[in-house]
Symmetry: C2
Subunit: 356 residues, 2 copies
């Protein structure tokens, strides 16, 4: 086997994800071949240092299919048709059962292992790509029951080369997982955002950070997400059914004024937020927010973070709060719960207007 | 009239919001009297410099009722019962129709003007209070049809003293507005979060920033939110009905594979996200994200913001992305769309690993 056991890698589809995979491979010194139905994309990706255009005579060891969801099955099948007996084919699509079904019965089926990096951007195309897009992100590896073990290892090496964290799941389990953690949240964010369409401006003036957070991902490309969500319909329908059932319970509780039932639905949500794993893969750690008011221009943020750095408290998350009406930023610093008072006191002693 | 025309201000209920109102009044030099069923809370608030305990002989000019939602009507009625002919009574509750109905027919009804500051915290109690909690935030003023105009002006002065931005709405309009911008988003965030309860840890390992954002507010106190949402049931049921209808459309579109209908539901959501007003009350301005990878310890953030400050690009929002697996932070800097390339290039020339 050559270096990394996977080179040359061929990337089929040089959009955001494909070009990022190519750049990450190049960063690790792995040879990359590029293909795309749009030749302009290959030239752009190549110009970014993502590799060179594939020629007829090239023999890739690992083919990474990174085309839009609706074309995945067909592109994986084409890659298997062209594959040599040692070639491994993977894809980076958002669903994993449908592409596997699309290649069922293929004579080279054992050479296919689907995968899914949990990373993206609100932008698309090769110009939005980055070698570091996958650094530290989960990357699901989802072998079908016919997959060869050396094919799985090759995909695992790709994940390592890209700096991501492999998470092994069966294709069906993967699709159930992303229905719950990604597709249904996206769809519900869109339904909530939809209720704002056409609302009176003076009503929308009361929008706070909460509704902005709930609806943020609803800004994503509707064509792409309808392919992703539509491509995982069985798992999405199951989770949507749970939501619909509890939505009806909420409506009944509201109509009949049964406050305790409403409370228990909300409590169920609190439990769910606590189930999401914390940063760095560990269990969720209690954090607390410290708010700081500051003039909304570049120098002040730098000064604030300079002070925070000197105080030496680690910031878990930052949010600049929206502030209709005046040029004052409200910065929320999330820190370990036990450090919040220390940080607030230290910031106040340095003249910052801070509160928890 | 005395200074500001509203003093002494009495604050009834010295929790987070009440004590913050008191501290903001004190910041402006306004005399504040404190009452609370829990005498300990008054002592705590008083110790924070929020004012002094009210005595029998005090005659407040403006009474601010800041008790939990389920006790609002009763507390506003008690304040009106005790009010002199010039006294004005307001409240800071999250719904505005129910408390007005609770005092319907009161002989002093013209002295009551409800209001609602759009500010809060995930914490509660006087120790979480801050004089700057309302700075730059919208604060709805919601006079009933019987309200006297001098009473409205007094509440407007309170909003100004607290540094907030007055937004005038009728009580019914207010309740419809917050059903849409706050209560329904909260309830749906809880329903989405609820589907994570009991999910397999290896499924939850695929959680990204999207589901964290959608579910963040679902972590709020279920008892408080069931009072708030339950107290606005008619408006909430209306908006929930819209969501339920579109949820059924989404289920039908998924089941029958009608992709275009799914796409149109998602497009409706995109339109909704664009309707939320931008920072500083202006129309939404197109922003773009610049991502920077950095070691997850205090000094690096300070160094990054130091460089951003020198580069001179204004940061609209900041997010530290979650990074299971390794001690690298991914910082998302949201900037005006036209500044994103400038910022990325300048950061890269300073040695940062950055991408859009």
């Amino acid at each position: 086997m050559t270096q990394q056991g996977i080179e040359p890698v061929e990337v089929v589809g040089t959009g955001l994800i494909g070009t990022s995979v190519a750049l990450a491979c190049r960063r690790a010194g792995v040879e990359v071949l590029l293909s795309d139905a749009e030749h302009g994309h290959v030239r752009t990706a190549s110009g970014l240092g993502a590799g060179r255009a594939r020629t007829e005579s090239d023999e890739p060891r690992l083919v990474v299919v990174a085309v839009p969801p609706d074309h995945l099955g067909e592109a994986i099948r084409a890659a298997l048709d062209a594959a040599g007996p040692q070639t491994v084919v993977t894809d980076v699509g958002s669903v994993k059962t449908a592409p596997l079904e699309a290649v069922a019965g293929h004579p080279r089926l054992s050479r296919y292992v689907g995968s899914h990096p949990m990373a993206g951007s609100e932008r698309s195309g090769p110009l939005a790509a980055s070698a570091s897009l996958f650094d530290g992100r989960p990357w699901a590896i989802c072998p079908g029951s016919d997959a060869a073990s050396d094919a799985e290892r090759a995909v695992e090496r790709l994940v390592e080369v890209c700096g991501a964290v492999p998470v092994r799941l069966s294709p069906a389990e993967h699709d159930r997982a992303v229905a719950r953690t990604s597709h249904v949240p996206h769809l519900l964010a869109a339904l909530v955002a939809g209720t704002l369409t056409g609302a009176a401006p003076e009503h929308l003036a009361l929008s706070g950070q909460g509704v902005r957070d709930v609806t943020r991902i609803a800004g994503g490309d509707p064509v792409l997400y309808s392919q992703i969500i539509g491509g995982n319909k069985h798992a999405v329908i199951d989770v949507l059914g749970e939501i619909r059932q509890r939505l009806d319970l909420a409506l009944e509780a509201l109509e009949s004024g049964r406050r305790v039932e409403l409370e228990s639905l909300l409590m169920h949500g609190v439990t769910g937020t606590l189930a999401i794993p914390g940063k760095h893969g560990g269990p969720p750690r209690p954090t607390a927010a410290v708010h700081v008011a500051l003039p909304d221009h570049p120098g002040e943020l730098a000064r604030l973070f300079g002070d925070v750095g000197e105080i030496g408290v680690n910031i878990e998350d930052v949010r600049i709060d929206h502030d209709p009406g005046r040029p004052v930023g409200l910065v929320e610093l999330d820190v370990a719960a036990e450090s919040a008072d220390v940080l607030r006191d230290a910031l106040e002693s340095r003249g910052w207007d801070s509160h928890r």
